[in-house]
């Protein structure tokens, strides 16, 4: 007997507003249909009415957790259009904040995944440790989320000497905790039972479905923008791209825990070798006509921002591709054949952030022409659709 079970858009196991319709056969998933569109916010449309400086702050609000990655990506794309050379020190500070954000995100992910597994104790521990890194970010930027650090032409705040000393202490603590979690997650039998061999994504499938970030790296694909196309100061800092070959949720867990350790090393190196100098250069308000693309390795995977300018102080088109959207196809592949009890763990495995992924573009399938709809058109379309469906 198959029956359908809806997951979301409001579900206690799924913090994110996405709907999955699962067809279940004896507690096993035989088909899955994802449905997006519950938190579409129209950010790309808003962007066309704001100037470039304002958009730095809008870009931070795309995602609450990887806010710096989006701000950084946006700043880079504008700098490329302006042909702006940013100071070396700003590059290092950007790297440090980006890596701190990665640590913060991975601890958050570890806690959430533990909660999906029903391991509340690990959830509480991981979030307690996440507090350390958030306090560090608070110290540097003055805010716990949406740090407001990146801006066009550099960064807004410096990291002075006394802060570096305090950061060293916190980093030692975090490194010890990461070692502890490695021990827990490789030894604890109940965690292993719930993660090893669950949600398999083979390397070939990962490549074909364009998986990004830790999801791809857990399938053995060394795909990392930081190494492939270095931005900020990554070109000058030695680090290794963590990959695992397990292709399952356990590998995704180990990749993230190892990345925490790797990020700590990057931050240490950057703090030691940070050059002196100014932290930003002045950027003009108007951006010359042109198109540019920027890629950033956000904690969840590759961020892609495309910007088209028309010579005014407002962009003509700003396209954002967040990592969750890239991973959604891989997620559907992973979910096939999975036990009902494992669904939350597998979904959590790609670290979904649906609000980042929600963009809309309508392409006419016959003529391949892009239509731009205004609010009026959407309203008319929605009314017609409901009228047709319910015969009103």
């Amino acid at each position: 007997m198959t029956f359908e079970i809806p997951f979301g858009p409001q579900h206690p196991a799924l913090e994110e507003p996405i709907n999955f319709m699962f067809e279940i056969e004896e507690e096993r998933v035989v088909n899955v249909k994802p449905r997006l569109g519950y938190v579409h916010r129209g950010i790309e449309k808003i962007a066309e009415n704001r100037n470039y400086q304002q958009l730095v702050y809008l870009s931070e609000r795309i995602c609450g957790i990887c806010s710096f990655a989006h701000a950084l990506c946006y700043s880079q794309v504008v700098e490329e259009l302006l042909d702006l050379k940013i100071p070396e020190r700003a590059k290092f500070i950007r790297t440090i904040v980006a890596e701190m954000e990665r640590i913060q995100n991975h601890y958050l992910w570890l806690g959430l995944t533990a909660k999906e597994m029903g391991f509340e104790t690990l959830f509480m521990y991981a979030w307690r440790d996440r507090e350390t890194i958030i306090e560090m970010l608070d110290m540097i930027s003055g805010k716990r989320v949406n740090y407001g650090m990146s801006t066009i032409g550099g960064v807004r705040r410096d990291i002075p000497e006394p802060m570096i000393k305090r950061m060293e202490e916190s980093l030692n603590h975090l490194e010890a905790r990461a070692e502890y979690y490695t021990k827990v997650c490789t030894k604890d039998p109940s965690i292993l039972k719930r993660t090893v061999g669950i949600g398999i994504l083979r390397p070939r499938e990962a490549r074909a479905l364009c998986a990004v970030g830790p999801t791809a790296r857990a399938s053995g694909i060394p795909r990392d923008v930081r190494a492939d196309e270095p931005y900020a100061a990554y070109g000058e800092i030695p680090f290794k791209v963590v990959t695992y070959r397990g292709c399952d949720v356990a590998s995704r867990m180990y990749v993230r825990i190892d990345e925490i350790k790797e990020s700590i090393k990057i931050i240490r190196y950057a703090l030691k070798n940070m050059p002196e100098g100014p932290i930003r250069v002045k950027a003009p308000m108007r951006v010359p006509e042109g198109e540019a693309i920027s890629r950033v390795e956000a904690p969840r995977g590759e961020n892609l921002h495309f910007l088209k300018s028309n010579g005014t102080d407002k962009p003509e088109r700003w396209k954002i591709r967040a990592p969750t959207l890239a991973n959604l196809l891989s997620l559907c592949r992973m979910l096939m054949g999975v036990n009902l009890a494992d669904i939350p763990v597998v979904i959590a495995g790609i670290d979904p952030c649906i609000a980042c992924a929600e963009r809309i573009a309508l392409i006419d399938a016959k003529t391949k022409k892009l239509k731009v709809w205004e609010g009026k058109d959407l309203w008319r379309y929605a009314n017609e659709w409901y009228r047709k469906r319910y015969g009103l």
């Binding site: 029903g118 965690i191 036990n339 009902l340 009890a341 669904i343």
Partner: protein, 318 residues
């Protein structure tokens, strides 16, 4: 003659009867929550009463005053009856457990069998309650509860029979009496003790075996449609089940109460809270298993171990 009747009334209604048991159930829930919170690096209940000790009672009263919804599609009679039956079935066996001295309020040859029967009935009731809600999540939850019963019931009953064989009686009071005059069963049958503890965790549906109500998978499984008074009764019944589980371990394996009437309840409660501590500790230390893991584990390890224990008792005569 009259004073004897008054004495019986006091025993049934005050101590160690209803009043004491209600108090014990709420207090046990508080202890459990506090212990788990300590393990998880949190505070736990904090505001109602000193150190939050009245929090379970406050939760109970709050739930009583909440809106009570019966879903339109639900099978009304079993759906409404189930919480009441669950609570009464959870309280009843507690009268067979000796708390003061080695004699329980209700004691007869074979009350151990009755307790086993009632514990199985509770699991069946859970299945009926989830099924009658006709919710997709609760249907899956109740199927899981039924499957879980197949996993833990046999090892649990075998582990409970072990002490009865050793004592040569099916009455809990006599088993306690036998232990007072000899050794605690914990030292003679450590394997049985371990098997019983694990199966009781499954019976209580606590982490790592909270499979039928797995919050992150099927919302809260068979409970999902119950609200208001019904939910209050179900939660109270779960507290009583927890009390019953700890009380059973104390009576069957830890020697129960002994000494004169004024000292035996204290000894009993000390042992009781050691059991609560063990059960709470286990709850904080694991992730949730899957239903197939539990079934495989129960049939591969728990049942053979329980049989081995009975074999050892019969062959070695210990």
């Amino acid at each position: 003659m009259v004073s004897e009747e008054i004495w019986a009334l006091i025993q049934i209604f005050l101590f160690p009867g209803f009043f004491f048991l209600f108090f014990l159930a709420f207090f046990t829930e508080w202890v459990d929550r506090k212990i788990v919170a300590k393990f998880q690096n949190r505070y736990g209940p904090l505001h109602v009463g000193p150190k939050g000790v009245l929090q379970p009672i406050a939760d109970f009263i709050k739930l009583l005053s909440k809106e009570d919804i019966t879903p339109r599609m639900a099978d009304k009679v079993p759906f409404n009856l189930m919480p009441v039956l669950l609570l009464s079935l959870a309280i009843t066996p507690l009268f067979c457990i000796p708390i003061v001295g080695s004699n329980a309020l209700v004691s007869f040859e074979g009350d151990l069998i009755v307790i086993m029967f009632i514990m199985s009935l509770i699991a069946v009731l859970v299945f009926i309650g989830g099924w009658a809600s006709t919710n997709r999540f609760s249907t899956i939850g109740s199927i899981r509860a039924g499957l879980q019963l197949f996993a833990y019931e046999i090892p649990m009953n075998l582990a409970m029979i072990g002490p009865a064989i050793a004592a040569g009686s099916l009455s809990i009071s006599k088993i306690v009496d036998w232990q007072i005059h000899g050794f605690w069963n914990l030292f003679i049958q450590p394997v049985g003790f371990a098997v019983l503890t694990i199966s009781l965790m499954a019976h209580l549906q606590r982490v790592p075996f909270d499979i039928p109500e797995a919050e992150s998978e099927i919302v809260s499984g068979w409970i999902v449609e119950f609200s208001g008074k019904k939910l209050a009764l179900i939660r109270l019944a779960k507290d009583f089940e927890f009390v019953l589980a700890s009380a059973l371990i104390v009576s069957l394996f830890l020697g129960g109460p002994y000494g004169p009437w004024y000292i035996s309840p204290i000894i009993y409660l000390a042992k009781f809270f050691i059991c609560v501590f063990i059960l709470s500790n286990l709850r904080a230390a694991f992730a949730r298993y899957r239903i197939d893991h539990l079934l495989a584990g129960a049939w591969k390890y728990l049942t053979p171990l329980a049989l081995l224990q009975i074999f050892l008792i019969k062959v070695l005569g210990v």
